[in-house]
């Protein structure tokens, strides 16, 4: 409740620093054992095999010894209070953390048989395999067509204009956007509605034929209808891609994911079937968070 401070309208508007101490002041009801995750964190033949992952921002340890498997064609949701490390952990999966100088990642992170943090890893190629959609739609200030064609062009996926046209059309179709934009592909993308822009970003991610799509709160800037469309899209895409979604909306996690992972102060506390997490979670902290007792 922000009745005392009407200028603060949402969590996103608050500086990150004010959020972290608030949680730490609250005594944890249950002791978290480092590296111990309740539920079912592991899977057979996973897409990602992540072991003893630790992330440091300078001296601060933001991710504390997390081990997790992410299955093929699975939709897994990461939930947890702000500052719990879920976005940080997500960004390890395609090395988006590389752009932060003080950030160091330890542990073993495998995408199929490939070590994500291998010194010779081509990060551009990695990010083509592991695409990402962000919280705020971020289309390039170009035409709708060029937004989707951008990736295939730089990765040399299409030699001819007709190939490129085909990729653009099929990506826009998969993103459920084709019928809305097919007559104005040359129009500038920034003129679209927020929901359309976000689906355009999804089309742009799909255009390079990724294996995995990471979504960092993809719907938090969208209205309920646009949100429903993106969620519908997630369900369809899960047939072809592995999807990892960070969300602040618990209902969204409950609706779209197969498994849900609960993060707390850099620990991975619980991973379970989503149905179980939202009806009878195993860990007291998960219960407290999803029932709105802190967060």
């Amino acid at each position: 409740m922000n009745t005392m401070n009407p200028t603060v309208t949402s969590e996103a508007d608050m500086p990150e620093e004010t959020l972290i101490p608030l949680q730490e002041e609250r005594p944890a009801e249950t002791v978290i054992e480092e590296g111990k995750t309740v539920g079912i964190p592991f899977a057979d033949d996973p897409k990602f095999r992540l072991r003893n992952v630790e992330v440091f921002y300078g001296e601060e340890r933001a991710i504390k010894n997390i081990s997790l498997d992410i299955g093929r064609n699975e939709v897994i949701a990461f939930i947890g209070p702000s500052g719990c490390g879920k976005s940080t952990f997500l960004r390890c999966l395609n090395r988006m953390n590389d752009s932060i100088d003080i950030c160091r990642v330890k542990g073993q992170l495998m995408l199929d048989q490939d070590d994500i943090y291998h010194t010779k890893r081509d990060v551009v190629e990695l990010r083509a395999r592991v695409g990402m959609v962000f919280q705020k739609p971020n289309p390039f200030p170009k035409s709708i067509y060029d937004n989707v064609a951008y990736g295939p062009r730089i990765h040399g996926l299409a030699n001819r204009k007709s190939d490129l046209d085909e990729i653009v059309e099929s990506s826009l179709r998969k993103a459920g956007l084709w019928d809305e934009v097919k007559d104005r592909l040359d129009a500038t993308a920034t003129g679209m509605s927020g929901g359309q822009q976000q689906r355009l970003c999804i089309a742009r991610a799909i255009a390079v034929s990724p294996e995995v799509i990471l979504m960092d709160e993809p719907c938090s800037a969208l209205d309920p209808i646009a949100t429903a469309k993106v969620e519908e899209l997630i369900a369809e895409m899960s047939e072809s891609y592995t999807i990892v979604i960070v969300t602040h909306s618990m209902q969204q996690a409950a609706r779209v994911s197969n498994r849900t992972a609960y993060f707390h102060l850099g620990h991975l506390v619980e991973v379970n079937e989503t149905d179980k997490v939202f009806t009878s979670p195993e860990h007291e902290l998960t219960e407290s968070y999803i029932t709105g007792r802190f967060g």
Binding site: E29, F278, T279, P281, E287, I290, T291
Partner: protein, 240 residues
């Protein structure tokens, strides 16, 4: 585990949500109290041959029905407003189901009251009332314990209620046999004995509903559905 057991529904960030859940629990217990007294008074009216009290019980069922509708509405609003999860969700779902059980118990009380009126008008010497008293006190204590288990979130007590149900069934069978003997002794007893039999049947059903409530309490506390499972399975769930 939560800091205070009584407060497991009371520590949300939203105080309004706390109030709504507390209100739901309180209303449910109020309805439980009313239903308990309905059964108790119906049986008393029957045993005393008191038609006036029996009429009161019949009229009282309207209040039970009203509370059922209100509680269902409150539960629906909580779901719509709060999208409860985990133990909050289990509370709301369990209340919706248990309210239906309480309403049925209310109906059984009404049936007993009707029989009390009929029997008091016939004005014959009581037969089978010992059995009625006995089973009534047994199922009333089950109902009371089930509601108490709900109030205190005590799954062990709920389990004890579940176990009692078998004994009530046995007592019911025994009483039915006794009544059959009366009927065979003198066929003029048949009509009366059948009325008493209906009352026993109604009381046995009260025991079943108390048992259902107990099962829902275990679901609320443990998150596992123990309906249609043998008692030893339920025992394992509660022991976890």
């Amino acid at each position: 585990m939560p800091n205070k057991k009584d407060d497991v529904y009371g520590d949300h960030i939203s105080h309004k949500f706390n109030d709504e859940l507390t209100e739901l629990k309180t209303q449910f217990l109020n309805m439980g109290g009313l239903v308990e007294s309905q059964v108790e008074r119906a049986v008393q009216a029957l045993v005393d041959g008191d038609g006036y009290v029996a009429e009161n019980v019949r009229a009282g069922d309207k209040q039970v029905d009203k509370m059922e509708v209100e509680l269902d509405e409150e539960a629906t609003l909580i779901i719509a407003r709060r999208q409860p999860t985990a133990r909050d969700l289990r509370l709301v779902i369990a209340v919706i189901k248990m309210v239906a059980d309480l309403e049925r118990v209310g109906d059984e009380a009404k049936k007993i009251a009707k029989m009390a009126i009929k029997l008091s008008e016939e004005g014959q010497a009581p037969r089978g009332y010992v059995e009625i008293r006995h089973i009534a006190s047994h199922v009333l204590s089950m109902l009371h314990d089930a509601l108490d288990a709900f109030a205190r979130l005590d799954s062990e007590q709920a389990l004890r209620v579940m176990k009692e149900d078998k004994r009530v069934d046995e007592e019911y069978q025994a009483a039915a046999r006794t009544l059959l003997t009366f009927m065979m002794e003198d066929t003029r007893n048949i009509s009366r004995c059948m009325s008493v039999m209906w009352v026993l049947r109604a009381l046995e059903r009260v025991g079943d509903h108390a048992c259902n409530i107990a099962e829902n309490v275990i679901f609320m506390v443990k998150g596992e559905d123990v309906r249609h499972t043998p008692v030893d399975e339920a025992e394992k769930v509660v022991g976890r």
